[in-house]
């Protein structure tokens, strides 16, 4: 048994503790950050290729066998999410060096950032429903403190909102876990799948499934539960906004996929109409909210709500093509939205606000900035050479294949709105003349991560084929849950 699977959780955790110890030694902190970030990134890549070549990996924590101890499971879905998380985290870390002031802010920011990374990786790897709850909480508590770290009035208010919703969702999660444990007497997800299979029609199971949709939908900002997102994502410090929109709302989607493709396999059809309807409403209302915004970061936050609708739609088709499309969408949207938030953060650094009316003429000030911003806009709008085209194309194709015409129609209309509000914001910020020129252009430290992410978006579009093959393989694996169960329980 190799210890590869536990490293994505263990390395950031160790780094966080070391960073707390070396809080007042900047040199040591920098070494720890670079070594930890690079090694997590490399480990995630190795893990993904191992899973690809050797199938699903499992790791028994403490050596306890499967249904009794906590088990870590790495399948292709986890592998993909881990790599995406590390790409965005590395860029956000790099960005944070240019964004935060040296005086003490970084000393607190970086340790908590690594706790957040550890918790996120943990949610992707765990194979135990209660451990999922614990990992969620590590992640959430880190977000609470990162959000309110700079102590802005807006941030504190958004923090109140986020913590209240977080506590409520944890209570609901616990109640759901209690319900399912009372029924099946196990917490291991693979074991739950086996124990629940013969009782699929039981009303308690449907109730618990509904509670899980509520809990994870709250985290993913599914429509009636999206109210907290625009405030939180727009007021957070920019590296955290990029993390929140890039990876953390997808954690909710990941959990929905995991639960419905493993534990509640037989309830997929029952919940399909429900999920698809909510996805369409989310998509549409998010776009409507975004059109009305004058603040770039709020616009992007509403746009995240809208895009989550697309991802949920792909999931809601419950077909191999639809799930594959949703996974590709998750990767592509994560990269593009992180780039866009970081681009908005550069504006904030230049003039202290992200109101679009305060900015303009970026094409003269910084042509590179304009180009990167344009690539990201084209990506989210779905213009061909970028990865955005394939993400939208695949979701819509999967919908047509499954004869879901109404959701596809909504998706097409909403994509027009997406293109409209994004191009409009780009034009306002980059092309319009502005009398007050800013004192200085964007700093190169902040531009590099935006450039890297924009480049990735292009590469993902031009060389989309291997990624599509990967997501399709992951989706096929998800629709044969026997493989997962075999890998976990067969190792007894």
């Amino acid at each position: 048994m190799t210890h590869l699977l536990v490293l994505p959780v263990l390395i950031p955790l160790t780094a966080a503790i070391l960073l707390l110890l070396f809080r007042f030694v900047p040199m040591a902190r920098h070494v720890v950050i670079v070594v930890a970030a690079v090694s997590v990134f490399v480990v995630d890549l190795i893990l993904l290729s191992t899973i690809q070549s050797e199938g699903i990996q499992t790791y028994r924590l403490g050596g306890w066998p499967a249904p009794f101890g906590i088990i870590l499971v790495g399948d292709l879905l986890s592998g993909i999410m881990l790599v995406l998380a590390s790409i965005i985290s590395v860029c956000a870390l790099f960005y944070s060096f240019g964004y935060l002031k040296e005086d003490g802010q970084r000393g607190v920011f970086h340790p908590i950032f690594f706790f957040l990374w550890s918790g996120t990786n943990g949610t992707f790897l765990t194979g135990d429903i209660f451990n999922l709850f614990v990992m969620f909480e590590i992640m959430l508590i880190s977000i609470y403190s990162l959000l309110t770290l700079l102590g802005d009035k807006k941030q504190v208010e958004a923090g109140l909102k986020l913590i209240s919703m977080g506590l409520l969702s944890s209570a609901l999660f616990l109640a759901a876990v209690g319900g399912i444990y009372a029924f099946a007497g196990t917490l291991n997800m693979a074991d739950l799948a086996v124990k629940i299979k013969p009782h699929a029609g039981h009303p308690l199971i449907a109730a618990v499934a509904m509670m899980f949709i509520g809990v994870f939908g709250l985290k993913a900002a599914m429509m009636p539960l999206h109210f907290w997102l625009p405030d939180v994502h727009s007021s957070a410090p920019t590296p955290i906004s990029a993390m929140l929109s890039g990876i953390l709302i997808k954690v909710g989607v990941y959990a929905i996929i995991r639960v419905f493709c493993l534990i509640f396999v037989d309830l997929q059809e029952t919940f399909q109409v429900f999920i698809l309807t909510l996805a369409c409403v989310t998509m549409f209302m998010g776009a409507m909210g975004a059109v009305a915004q004058t603040d770039l970061k709020r616009l992007l936050a509403y746009s995240s709500v809208s895009q989550i609708g697309y991802i949920l739609m792909g999931v809601g088709f419950f077909s191999v093509a639809g799930m594959g499309a949703a996974l590709f969408y998750i990767i592509s949207h994560g990269i593009i939205k992180a780039a866009l938030f970081m681009a908005a953060g550069i504006l904030k650094k230049m003039k202290g606000t992200t109101e679009m009316s305060a900015h303009g003429n970026m094409i003269k000030i910084s042509p590179m900035y304009t180009l990167f911003f344009l690539i990201a806009v084209a990506g989210l709008g779905g213009i061909p050479p970028s990865s955005g085209f394939f993400m939208k194309f695949q979701v819509i194709k999967a919908g047509l294949d499954g004869a879901f015409y109404a959701p596809v129609a909504v998706a097409l209309v909403v994509s027009l709105f997406t293109l409209f509000y994004l191009v409009q914001s780009w034009q306002k910020v980059c092309l319009l003349e502005q009398k007050e020129a800013p004192e200085s252009g964007p700093s190169i430290k902040l531009l590099i991560p935006v450039g890297v992410l924009a480049l990735l978006c292009l590469v993902l579009g031009i060389a989309a084929d291997p990624i599509i093959q990967l997501t399709t393989a992951a989706s096929q694996q998800l629709f044969t849950p026997e493989l997962y169960i075999q890998a976990v329980l067969g190792a007894m």
């Binding site: 209660f130 709850f133 614990v134 909480e137 959430l140 508590i141 609470y144 403190s145 309110t148 102590g151 009035k153 807006k154 504190v156 208010e157 923090g159 109140l160 913590i163 209240s164 977080g166 506590l167 409520l168 944890s170 209570a171 609901l172 616990l174 109640a175 876990v177 209690g178 319900g179 444990y181 009372a182 007497g185 917490l187 405030d231």
Partner: protein, 112 residues
């Protein structure tokens, strides 16, 4: 016990929801903590409701044992809930000091 525990859970959730709908920020915090306790009681009741033996091997044969796992789980849940609640309390204090008000609607009005 079989009737008392569900009733207690209902009362905890009901009182918590009522408190959350009030305008005072401290009542929101208290409401959230009551709902958290309600969830903990649900979790512990999934182990056993009624009279069960202490789960120690070799004490008495034949009688049904209480499942010890939910008890271990709620210990974790209580600790996590405590941390989040402490953070929320500190944040509320911060809001009160900054804005000189504990009324949620006035706090919301502060956004620019």
């Amino acid at each position: 016990m079989k009737l008392l525990l569900p009733l207690a859970i209902g009362v905890l959730f009901g009182a918590g929801t009522y408190l959350m709908l009030q305008k005072n920020i401290l009542k929101l915090v208290l409401g959230l903590s009551l709902i958290g306790h309600g969830a903990n009681v649900i979790l512990i009741s999934s182990g056993w409701i009624g009279s069960g033996q202490v789960p120690i091997l070799g004490k008495e044969e034949g009688a049904p044992f209480v499942d010890p796992l939910p008890q271990a789980l709620i210990l974790t849940a209580i600790v996590i809930g405590f941390a989040a609640l402490a953070f929320l309390l500190v944040l509320s204090l911060r809001v009160y000091r900054d804005l000189k008000t504990a009324n949620i609607e006035e706090i919301r009005g502060q956004r620019g």
